[in-house]
């Protein structure tokens, strides 16, 4: 069975390297996009099984913008999204996790514990 494909969208190359290493060592195939635009392009060309998205890239809420776009499109509405944030998702962000319009499926706060990452990825991919 081919490995599950994960697209990692984050502009921090060091962070990406460590997350990639964790995921690949656990049998996932990982592709990387350095910003939201590249991420959307890669998703449209070849949809992954899961998107791991950083909240802040070039702008403070770029991750949310990408997530909203994906959820708005019929073709990508059901694509699971795991969002990584460097601050608590309840802390001064323009949303509340209780709100229904939140465009992501799960959150994980940085710094990312490998076990927590693998747990969330596994849950979203139904492993």
């Amino acid at each position: 069975m081919p490995p599950k494909r994960i697209l990692l969208v984050d502009d921090d190359e060091f962070f990406v390297a460590s997350i990639r290493a964790i995921l690949e060592s656990n049998g996932y195939a990982v592709d990387v996009a350095g910003d939201g635009q590249e991420g959307l392009r890669k998703i449209s060309e070849s949809p992954p099984d899961l998107v791991v998205l950083d909240v802040m890239m070039t702008t403070l809420s770029e991750g949310f913008d990408v997530a909203r776009k994906l959820k708005a499109e019929a073709a990508t509405r059901t694509l699971p999204i795991l969002m990584l944030t460097a601050v608590s998702q309840r802390f001064n962000m323009p949303f509340s996790p209780e709100e229904e319009w939140l465009p992501v499926d799960r959150f994980l706060e940085k710094p990312v514990e490998p076990e927590a990452l693998l747990r969330e990825v596994g849950a979203l991919l139904g492993a």
Partner: protein, 494 residues
């Protein structure tokens, strides 16, 4: 006839306050009172006329007396309009206000004089009602003006009495009430005028003293009120500036902390990945070094997180939404979470939560952090075998909480600073090396945001007691909608 305000080139009358009229607008307010009183007087006059004619059956010229009453009502309406216009404009020159006062009083005296003439002249016991106008003049005007008004009143009555005595004007007797020729009795007339005049003078003298003192007090009060209003405006402006500066500082703090946290989060993740062997095998020494890096990163992240939390709480005034928080329920939840930790450390957790309503208005997440921090600190700094007591009760409009431990205590020289940022007493650092020193600052900020108070009593090596009081209703509470995005880190480190 002028009020007693001295022209600028003249010194004020000796013994008089520098500005006799406290505020010209205060005078206008008094004149408004006088106008209202005059309406009552007109009504009373009508009643007396009717009672005199139809109950006492004294044949008085009703038509003339009612005409005078109507004239009084008419000029009172004019004064009412003038006073209302002055109040609305909130600006009137002092001299104009004084002239308004003098005019009213003179017209009243004149009207009273006419009433007296057409209703018995010197026979009429109501001649002593002139005293009321002297009293009113004493309250409104200066001593010189009052004296002039007294002279006018005496001359007026004397004129009426003389004209009737001399037969120059017809006398309108109060038939059946007094002797019909009393007005022709020179001795009687002189006596009445004399008593009348001296009564007015004595009344003015007595009222002058009392009135001046009252006027002085009122002048002081009005000036104090004006000063306080000015101070209040200055304080409000200062408070606004302070809030603006604090808001800027908090925003700066938040943004700075935010920018620091992101790279640190990456460092920690990368270090952990390397240590876990995701980038190839690592030696024991390398793992030890990486572990140290991870620990330092964790500490730094905790500090930044606490700073972010603190900045967020200190902007609580900008938050609009509060809700009811049941502190009893919240306390029980926190204490049940802490029970296991306390048991591990061999510490007994005693809980006394009073029955009844222990609800306050506030942010539940912050209040959870507040209570959790106090309880965790109590457990953290207690030795095995000790006890931590948590009490919660209602006192009037406040909910009072107390967290007492039998731990290491706080050195006396640190007690006053214990709520400041980054303060950790040496004995605390020795017992628990890790800690940001921001936990109690966060506690204090949450207390302040809820307009509460917190105190600490502590003895070294015997323990500490933190007592907090939170008002049940927050001054800024406006609604019961859901609370805004809060910043509840899980645990505030103390």
């Amino acid at each position: 006839m002028e009020g007693d305000r001295a022209p600028e080139s003249e010194a004020p009358e000796p013994g008089s306050p520098p500005d006799r009229i406290p505020l010209h607008l205060e005078l206008v307010d008094r004149l408004g009172w006088l106008v209202r009183l005059r309406w009552i007087a007109v009504f009373g006059l009508a009643v007396v006329i009717v009672a005199t004619r139809f109950i006492l059956r004294i044949p008085v010229p009703i038509a003339i007396l009612f005409a005078i009453a109507a004239a009084i009502a008419l000029y009172n309406a004019a004064f009412w309009l003038a006073v209302r216009a002055a109040i609305r404009a909130a600006s009137i020159r002092l001299q104009v206000a004084e002239r308004l006062a003098v005019t009213q009083i003179i017209l009243d005296l004149f009207a009273l004089g006419l009433l007296i003439h057409f209703a018995g002249g010197v026979e009429n016991p109501f001649i002593f009602y002139f005293i009321f106008h002297i009293i009113i003049a004493s309250m409104l005007l200066g001593a010189r003006a009052v004296r002039q008004i007294i002279v006018f009143a005496i001359l007026l009555l004397s004129l009426i009495a003389y004209l009737e005595y001399a037969g120059i004007v017809p006398h309108w007797p109060l038939a059946g009430f007094a002797s019909p020729d009393l007005h022709r009795n020179g001795t009687y007339v002189l006596a009445v005028v004399f008593v009348f005049g001296t009564t007015l003078l004595l009344a003015a003298y007595m009222m002058g003293g009392i009135g001046r003192r009252l006027l002085d007090r009122e002048t002081q009060l009005v000036r104090t009120r004006e000063d306080l209003a000015g101070e209040s405006r200055r304080l409000e402006e200062a408070l606004r500036l302070i809030r603006e500066v604090e808001g800027r500082r908090s925003r700066f703090l938040r943004q700075s902390a935010h920018q620091l946290r992101s790279p640190l989060a990456t460092i920690k993740t990368v270090v952990r990945s390397i240590a876990d062997g995701h980038f190839g095998p690592v030696t024991e020494r390398q793992r030890w070094l990486l572990s140290g890096m991870e620990t330092r990163s964790t500490e730094l992240l905790a500090t930044i997180q606490d700073l972010l939390h603190l900045a967020h709480i200190r902007e609580a005034d900008t938050m609009r939404e509060w809700k009811d928080v049941d502190l009893a329920r919240l306390s029980r939840r926190i204490l049940s979470e802490e029970t296991a930790r306390a048991r591990e450390r061999g510490i007994k957790l005693e809980v006394e939560i009073a029955r009844g309503d222990l609800t306050i208005q506030g942010f539940e997440k912050w209040l959870r952090d507040l209570l959790a921090c106090l309880v965790e600190n109590a457990i953290r700094y207690s030795r095995s075998g000790g006890a931590v007591t948590y009490r919660l009760r209602r006192e009037g409009d406040e909910v009072v909480g107390e967290v007492r431990d039998q731990g290491i205590g706080i050195p006396p020289e640190y007690v006053d600073q214990i709520f400041e940022e980054f303060v950790r007493a040496p004995n605390a650092k020795k017992m628990v090396p890790e800690g940001t020193g921001l936990g109690l600052s966060i506690v204090k900020s949450v207390i302040d945001a809820h307009r509460g108070r917190i105190d600490v009593a502590s003895r070294l090596d015997e323990g500490s007691t933190f007592t907090f009081k939170l008002p049940c209703r927050h001054p800024a509470a406006a609604s019961r909608r859901t609370e805004p995005d809060g910043a509840p880190r899980d645990v505030a480190r103390g």
